[in-house]
């Protein structure tokens, strides 16, 4: 009797064990935990937190937590519902209708309505530095409190990306519509009120930003995190040592191979996903107003002299990818058939000979200078120094000009006082936003990150303007393909590599921000699996 009872007990236990194993093996992982604090460093101090009037990654990261936007994006360039639960782009492409959720409120409790959406979009159009993003927008109609219709003067496929969290924060009309100049509005730095998953606790300019969970966020159950702390810390080494000591648990925009390796060894995980939206490129820009840079053969020779494999493997520790076109390889518009300018010193020399720059007795053809954008040694200074040695092999004497700080370099480039310069420029998602500005003849201006190369090709202008209005993705890709072939041939800039931005994080994080916008989208589904 007793023996059988024990056998039954064992059977029951075995059954229970088997069931548990089944459940565990089926992959239904632990449910998301509420709680935890994200502590991350910021390399640059944001001027303020209103991304409707201020672009740049320093402001966009925190602003995407404080403000919600009509749409958000996944990692496959597909728009996802956010403040807009449904949307329709009209067949003629001249209007985008947004149907808003009905339960969204701002941090002060007031509801988010189409009035706020209309106000935000027109404010962004009037004040945001990326003027091409909303240029064709004429007005935003609000037939009812939860419907907004954006009317455009011509088809503008970029309008969808323009609705991203980084680019289209919905700001409260009842706060910012008080008549004060919004660019210097006091609520940009204090009492910053949005409808995003986190609300502002403290912003000390130049020091840190503290945000905490917004309990009435319109997506139920989210966000999971209690707090987000972003500390301004411009020194990479201090960040790495601090991270090892537990002072930070996430680091975005890490681009130095050495530091990433060090943290990997300490048990952290590094991923390069999440930067496809930004599309950052390192390139060497030529001043086409000056000889000999004005000669296309000279530019091609320099591009052929660049060993991009060496740069990416040795200078960047194998973390970056070579680039030889204006659109990043992770973009849907990238055309892989462009000339990769595989390093060929003989070809470079032949081109220079054909251009009429023969070698003098001392082996020198001509002398030029190269500036480099201050900030990242690995991406710019080292590339310039490397080029000095490399170009000497083909007879070009290259002098590297250092700039003491960013405004000095910016002044030089903006006043066209350069032969060549390294630069780091972002695509910003849709080519209309971040790519066109470098190649359009109408954008030759005395401001950095415009067409400071003075490149002028009417065919390219036509292609870009057509692509901006083309709704059919196939036709649009075709335009951009021709565009890429032309500039790849004519080289107003010689692209070097895609900047290897990585997100390095403590292994206890789950649901990392890995959409195309990475950490510049709401961190409402990020959760901490530690204690």
């Amino acid at each position: 009797m007793k023996a059988r009872g024990r056998m039954n007990g064992i059977r029951v236990a075995a059954l229970a064990l088997a069931l548990t194993a089944l459940v565990g093996a089926s992959g239904t992982a632990i449910a998301q935990q509420r709680g935890g604090t994200l502590v991350m460093p910021m390399a640059q101090a944001p001027r303020h937190l209103n991304s409707a009037v201020q672009s740049g990654i320093a402001t966009m990261g925190p602003a995407a937590q404080l403000f919600a936007s009509p749409l958000r994006y996944d990692d496959k360039w597909n728009p996802q519902p956010y403040l807009a639960q449904k949307w329709e782009l009209a067949p003629d492409g001249k209007s985008l209708t947004l149907h808003l959720v009905k339960n969204a409120v701002f941090h002060d409790g007031k509801p988010v309505t189409s009035e706020d959406v209309a106000f935000s979009i027109m404010t962004i159009k009037a004040n945001h530095p990326f003027s091409s993003m909303l240029a064709p927008v004429e007005k935003v109609e609000t037939p009812d409190p939860y419907t907004a219709i954006i009317r455009m003067s011509k088809p503008h496929p970029a309008i969808l990306i323009a609705m991203s969290p980084a680019l289209c924060p919905i700001i409260p009309k009842h706060i910012y519509g008080d008549g004060k100049d919004i660019k210097t509005h006091p609520n940009n730095s204090a009492n910053v009120i949005g409808s995003g998953p986190f609300k502002l606790v403290e912003f000390k300019p130049g020091q840190h930003i503290v945000m905490e969970r917004f309990d009435r966020f319109f997506i139920p159950g989210r966000p999971y995190l209690d707090k987000i702390i972003m500390k301004v810390n411009p020194d990479d080494t201090a960040i790495v040592v601090g991270a090892e000591r537990g002072e930070f648990n996430l680091w975005t925009f890490a681009a130095s191979a050495r530091n990433i390796e060090r943290l990997r060894k300490a048990g952290w995980i590094a991923t390069d996903k999440g930067y496809e939206g930004i599309g950052p490129l390192t390139w060497v820009a030529f001043n086409l107003k000056r000889k000999p840079m004005s000669d296309i053969k000279v530019r091609q020779a320099i591009s052929y002299a660049m060993d991009r494999d060496f740069i990416t493997k040795s200078l960047h520790g194998g973390l970056s990818k070579p680039a030889f076109g204006p659109i990043v390889s992770s973009s849907p518009f990238y055309d892989a058939s462009i000339n990769p300018y595989r390093v060929d010193l003989k070809k470079a020399e032949a081109l220079l000979d054909a251009a009429g720059y023969k070698k003098a007795a001392n082996g020198e053809r001509f002398a030029v200078t190269i500036d480099y954008i201050p900030g990242s040694d690995e991406q710019s200074k080292n590339v310039a120094e490397y080029l000095k040695g490399q170009l000497r092999k083909i007879g070009i004497k290259l002098e590297v000009r250092a700039s003491p700080d960013f405004p000095s370099w910016a002044k030089r480039v903006a006043s066209f006082d350069f032969d060549m310069t390294t630069d780091v420029v972002f695509n910003w998602g849709d080519p209309v936003i971040g790519v066109h500005r470098t190649y359009l003849a109408s954008n030759i201006r005395n401001i950095i990150w415009t067409n400071t190369q003075s490149y002028d090709n009417p065919k390219v202008d036509e292609l870009l303007n057509n692509a901006a209005e083309q709704l059919d993705p196939v036709k649009r890709r075709a335009y951009y393909a021709v565009f890429q072939k032309i500039v790849n041939e004519e080289l107003p800039v010689a692209w070097v590599n895609v900047v290897p931005y990585y997100t390095v994080y403590d292994k206890r994080w789950r649901n990392l921000p890995l959409s195309i916008w990475g950490s510049m989208s709401p961190l409402d589904d990020l959760w901490w699996a530690g204690k």
């Binding site: 740049g56 730095s189 950095i448 415009t450």
Partner: protein, 327 residues
């Protein structure tokens, strides 16, 4: 009454000095290539022509230099230090937020270097040719010669990276901020150790040498021989009679060096990411944030002048000859 007139004269000189400092710095800053608009374009990742023109007009950068200077002086005299180009916030607010941190750093550093320097110097003076005195001299030269930022980085490497005894940077650990002011004070004190050590090393080196030399000088005087002859204890001789006289040069030098301390604070604050005026000044120069730079320089000039005045008063308190003398 006898005190007031020289004080008033000094204050008048101080006012003229401050205005001169402002004008000079105003011109100097504008010599640097690049302007605040370029910085803002950089922070924004690009800019339109219209925005650029608007900013130039808003910041008065299209006016002539004398016009800009007069505009700034006029505003300053009415108490308006202007708005930061970079943050769009009042400069006075930015400065007031940072002053306590810098004052904390500098005052603690002054106290530590005076106390430690004097103590070491006095100890060394007991046996001037002993090993302690000799090694102190050598260490002083090293500590004095080493650049501040190098010392700071070395201390971080040894005491924050190799031996994780102290935090790497910053003033507090807001993520793990304990509850209550006492936990916070401890946290700040913990973060304060390395920056203060860095800043004081140079001055400990100087003051210890000075104190030692000064003590040796004083100990050879007649009244000390008298005191010993009277049968007073060594301790009384050293501390009651000798030190009071020996400390005068140290106090003088400390007062004069206050300006250097502030300059050293800029480097220390940058190395340690300490949220003080020095770091704000450094970053503002890199950002060409003219109103903030001028505001900070104005405040520093005032602080240095105040420190000099304070030194004078302390001197009068210590040295009775000045108090009752012919001044």
């Amino acid at each position: 009454m006898r005190l007031l007139i020289p004080l008033a004269i000094r204050l008048a000189y101080a006012a003229i000095l401050v205005v001169a400092v402002i004008v000079l710095n105003f011109l100097l800053i504008r010599l640097a290539p690049g302007d605040p608009v370029e910085t803002i374009a950089g922070a924004m990742g690009g800019m339109t022509e219209e925005l650029r023109a608007e900013l130039v007009r808003a910041y008065g950068l299209d006016l002539s230099l004398p016009q800009q200077l007069l505009r700034y002086l006029a505003r300053m005299l009415s108490g308006d230090l202007g708005y930061s180009y970079f943050f769009n916030l009042p400069v006075s607010g930015l400065i007031l937020e940072r002053v306590p941190q810098t004052v904390l750093l500098v005052v603690v550093a002054v106290a530590v270097s005076l106390l430690a320097g004097t103590a070491l110097g006095v100890l060394a003076s007991r046996r001037p040719n002993g090993w302690f005195s000799q090694s102190l001299t050598v260490l002083s030269v090293v500590g004095y010669a080493a650049p501040v930022f190098w010392t700071g980085i070395m201390l971080i490497i040894v005491f924050a990276a190799w031996l994780p005894l102290f935090p790497v940077s910053g003033m507090d650990d807001i993520a793990n901020a304990g509850n209550g002011w006492f936990a916070y004070a401890l946290d700040v004190a913990h973060h304060l150790v390395l920056p203060v050590a860095t800043l004081s090393i140079i001055y400990v080196a100087q003051y210890s040498n000075l104190a030692r030399a000064s003590m040796l000088d004083v100990l050879g005087a007649d009244y000390i021989r008298t005191a010993r002859a009277k049968g007073l204890s060594e301790g009384s001789v050293y501390f009651k009679h000798a030190l009071k006289n020996a400390i005068l040069p140290v106090v003088t030098v400390a007062g004069l060096q206050f300006g250097n301390l502030l300059a050293g604070a800029i480097l220390v604050e940058t190395v340690f990411n300490w949220p003080g005026l020095g770091r704000l000044a450094f970053e503002s120069i890199l950002r060409r944030d003219h109103p903030t730079i001028l505001g900070i320089l104005f405040c520093s000039a005032c602080m240095v002048i105040a420190a000099n005045l304070l030194t004078d008063l302390v001197y009068r308190a210590i040295d009775p000859r000045i108090r009752t003398g012919s001044r």
